[in-house]
């Protein structure tokens, strides 16, 4: 699987170790990967690159993941991009909040890179079907 041909995944996470870990593993698995550290960066990258899927950590400095997702889903150019929320908050209501904001899927950290890839592929398949 060539890197040029794989779907483009935008990984948004302010925690560098986690972001790079997922990015490295996604590339290892054949995806193209773009990275963003904040909500604003995420929006810029999304508009600029129009990725196939966005992995969105919800706890971000400045504009958080929920707000970024809302803006993405409010914009016609980015509305179609599936957003997989990532969060370390396992408290009740976290997933509900994410779905309300427009996230298409929800993954709780810790999430093994392998499991994440399974979820990403599932979402891409789902999007393709639609």
């Amino acid at each position: 699987m060539s890197a040029e041909q794989g779907p483009l995944i935008l990984v948004v996470d302010d925690y560098e170790d986690a972001r790079e870990m997922y990015a490295e593993y996604l590339r290892f698995c054949g995806f193209r990967v773009a990275e963003a550290r904040t909500g604003n960066e995420a929006l810029e990258q999304a508009f600029a690159l129009s990725p196939d899927l966005i992995l969105m950590d919800l706890s971000l400095p400045g504009m958080d993941g929920w707000e970024a997702t809302r803006q993405l889903k409010a914009n016609a150019r980015t509305r179609h991009i599936p957003v997989v929320a990532l969060t370390g908050h396992a408290l009740a209501g976290a997933s509900e909040g994410a779905r309300k904001a427009g996230c298409d899927s929800f993954v709780t950290k810790p999430c093994l890179p392998d499991d994440l890839v399974v979820e990403v592929r599932r979402m891409l398949e789902q999007t393709k079907e639609v």
């Binding site: 986690a18 593993y25 706890s59 908050h89 396992a90 950290k109 999430c111 890179p113």
Partner: protein, 724 residues
């Protein structure tokens, strides 16, 4: 006036066989009653009846002053007709007047055409039919005509006996006329008699004169109404009269025999009304020289009197009843008054005491063998009391006037001051006249004492109240403090939960990286690994996962305590849980080499609960069993209790078991039976604590049956429906 029977003759008993003797007898009678012309005339007519056979006759006398020929005596004719007889002398041609001048007896025939001038036969009491008029002349014939006439109901001539009698009677008339006017005498007598009858008739009580046989001789108008009737009157009335006569005769005969002078009661019938009349009969026997013995009865109508008497009797009885009632009432009143503990004094309008009860007497009378001061005290009491009621007697008026006041009295015996409250009220008659003043004295000592005590009580109460207020204020302060502490605690608790939530997040982030990179290394992302490196990486992975479990469990506890553990209810079959749990722990089971025996209950109904939480609990129980069992087997049994409608899952192992003293402890947070740092078994010690909390949240419970070395049975029991 009716003559029922002719009066009995006195001379009837003696009969002389010879005419001479008879004539002598008459003359003897004349001598005996020489003053009484009427008697003589009467005796003469009787004599004629007996000796000359003349059964009906009259003796008439000339009344020169009145100018009439008046009846003097009669035989066989009603006496009243004789008395009323007055023939005018004015008409000289009248046959009877003419007969006075005739020298011999004149015969009047029945019917018309006899005597002079063809006049009809004069009507006399002798009745219809022929009669003879014999003139009565004196010795000295003055030629002025006869002094009287003898009318005989006989047309058969004049016998020698008649002639003889006419001579002697004429002489007797002449004799008496010489001493005055015969007619005048008679008139006087008549007047008296008439007056007498008028008087008798005027008497409203019936008066009767009867003979000893009870036959009526004379009766006044009132008596006649009761005892006489004529043929024309009604049958009822006649019967009543008859009955009255019988009753009267019976009463009279008894009276006469028994107690002549005594009054008797006699019940008669009112002939006109038919009602009963009650009379009191007073009878007395009278002796009349001419009429013989008679009985005079005076009847007094006592019907009304009796009725009045009965009424009086009745009234008297009623009065006695009332009097008795009044006496009872008065006695009761006295009792009441005496039973009142307060002195009561009743005074008259002049201020004099009429009545006082025993408590009052103690104040206003000097007790016997009392000290000298007692009298002074009583006088002082009297003076105080008098001045109190004088205000009421003199000043205020009106029916509702009540005077209140306080009087300072003193006990006569002990001189102890007795302040009293006096209440005096007027007792007025219906006309508003003052009859009495009632005064009630109320001893104020008790009230004053009570007031004093009340004052003390009030002080004490106020003090108490102040203390209570102080205590309340203190309590309020404490409460406020507690409330604040509670808030602070709550805040602290919330902060703790928040802190733990944050902590778990903060733990996860690096843990995520550790697990992730370890995983990537093990996946060979960085190239193939030496076996030793791979083994060491697996150790890192295993410990990181354990750390994650601990963090997750801490998070669970935090959620449950914060009440933020979401419960998602659904209907499911508990039997389904068992294979799922076994599948989840498949790796551990495989490593343990223990036999796991599931025992399902196919008949168990569906329950409505949180499937995920039930599964979590059973996973926990099974993993504990696996952890603490080294040999033998584990049984997972589903049971349904139809009676309690509960479903249970029991996990029974053949492990090390738990001593009874540790049964509760193991459910506490972070506890194992051995929680020393060097303990043999791993784990957070939060599993059972979380399980028990979850079971409680689902309305169920976890129970333990175990003993050391005997294995354990943990049973989760849940209701058919979890509370919301």
């Amino acid at each position: 006036m009716a003559t029922v029977q002719p009066a009995r003759s006195l001379s009837r008993a003696k009969v002389s066989p010879s005419a001479e003797a008879a004539r002598l007898e008459l003359l003897e009678y004349y001598l005996l009653h020489h003053e009484d012309l009427a008697r003589c005339a009467h005796a003469s007519l009787e004599w004629l009846a007996r000796h000359a056979g003349v059964k009906r006759s009259m003796c008439l006398v000339v009344d020169g002053d009145g100018g009439v020929l008046m009846g003097m005596a009669g035989y066989g004719v009603p006496s009243e007709e004789v008395e009323l007889f007055a023939w005018p002398l004015s008409d000289a041609r009248d046959p009877i007047v003419a007969a006075l001048s005739a020298s011999s007896p004149v015969l009047f025939r029945a019917g018309r055409g006899n005597g002079h001038a063809g006049r009809p036969t004069p009507v006399t009491p002798l009745g219809a039919g022929p009669f003879t008029a014999v003139p009565l002349r004196g010795v000295r014939d003055t030629g002025q005509g006869a002094l009287g006439l003898l009318l005989l109901r006989s047309g058969s001539g004049v016998s020698s006996e008649i002639s003889w009698l006419a001579i002697v009677l004429g002489q007797k008339l002449d004799q008496l006329r010489g001493r005055g006017s015969i007619a005048g005498e008679v008139r006087k007598l008549r007047r008296e008699r008439s007056l007498l009858f008028t008087i008798i008739n005027a008497v409203t009580d019936p008066i009767l004169l009867t003979d000893t046989e009870g036959r009526l001789i004379v009766a006044n108008a009132r008596a006649e109404r009761l005892f006489a009737s004529s043929e024309e009157e009604s049958e009822g009335r006649r019967r009543a009269v008859e009955l009255n006569n019988m009753l009267f005769s019976a009463a009279l005969s008894r009276t006469a025999v028994e107690r002549p002078a005594e009054a008797r009661e006699l019940l008669l019938v009112d002939p006109s009304e038919g009602s009963d009349l009650l009379f009191e009969v007073l009878s007395s026997t009278v002796e009349d020289p001419r009429e013989g013995t008679g009985v005079v009865s005076v009847l007094r109508n006592i019907t009304d009197l009796r009725r009045a008497t009965e009424q009086i009797e009745e009234n008297y009885q009623r009065l006695r009843v009332l009097e008795a009632a009044a006496r009872t009432e008065r006695d009761r009143l006295n009792l009441i008054i005496d039973s009142v503990a307060d002195p009561i004094i009743v005074t008259d309008p002049m201020g004099e005491t009429i009545l006082m009860n025993a408590p009052a007497e103690e104040l206003f009378t000097v007790p016997p063998d009392a000290p000298e001061s007692a009298e002074r005290n009583v006088q002082a009491n009297d003076a105080h009391f008098s001045s109190f009621i004088s205000g009421l007697l003199l000043g205020e008026t009106g029916p509702g006037a009540v005077r209140r006041g306080e009087i300072g009295l003193a006990s006569p015996s002990t001189s102890e001051p007795i302040p009293v409250e006096a209440i005096a009220g007027k007792v007025l008659t219906e006309t508003g006249e003052l009859t009495a003043v009632v005064t009630i004295l109320h001893d104020r000592r008790e009230a004053l004492e009570r007031a004093r005590l009340y004052e003390q009580l009030k002080l004490a109460s106020e003090e108490l109240q102040a203390r209570v207020q102080a205590a309340t204020a203190e309590l309020a302060t404490q409460n406020e403090l507690l409330r604040r502490q509670a808030i602070e605690l709550e805040q602290a608790s919330r902060l703790k939960s928040q802190f733990l939530a944050n902590m778990s997040h903060e733990f996860r982030t690096p843990l995520n990286a550790i697990l992730g990179y370890t995983h990537m290394l093990l996946q060979g992302v960085a190239g193939d690994l030496l076996p030793a490196v791979k083994r060491q990486l697996q150790r890192i992975d295993s410990n990181a996962r354990h750390l994650l479990t601990i963090i997750n469990e801490i998070l669970d506890i935090t959620r449950i305590e914060a009440g933020k553990m979401p419960i998602q209810l659904s209907e499911f079959n508990v039997n389904e849980i068992v294979p799922e749990v076994m599948a989840e722990l498949e790796a551990v089971i495989a490593r343990s080499k223990l036999t796991i025996t599931p025992k399902l209950a196919p008949g168990a109904p569906l329950v409505r609960s949180d499937r995920q939480k039930v599964k979590q609990i059973v996973v926990n129980l099974l993993s504990n069993a696996l952890k603490f069992t080294h040999q033998g087997g584990i049984e997972i049994a589903v049971q349904f209790d139809p009676e309690a409608q509960t479903v249970s899952i029991a996990v029974t192992d053949t492990g090390i078991g738990i001593a009874p003293e540790h049964h509760e402890r193991i459910f506490e947070d972070f506890r194992q039976v051995d929680d020393s740092p060097s303990r043999q078994y791993g784990g957070t010690g939060l599993g059972l604590a979380i399980s028990r909390r979850l079971a409680t949240a689902l309305g169920g419970r976890i129970t333990l049956r175990s003993s050391l070395g005997q294995g354990s049975t943990f049973t989760l029991t849940i209701p058919p429906e979890a509370p919301r």
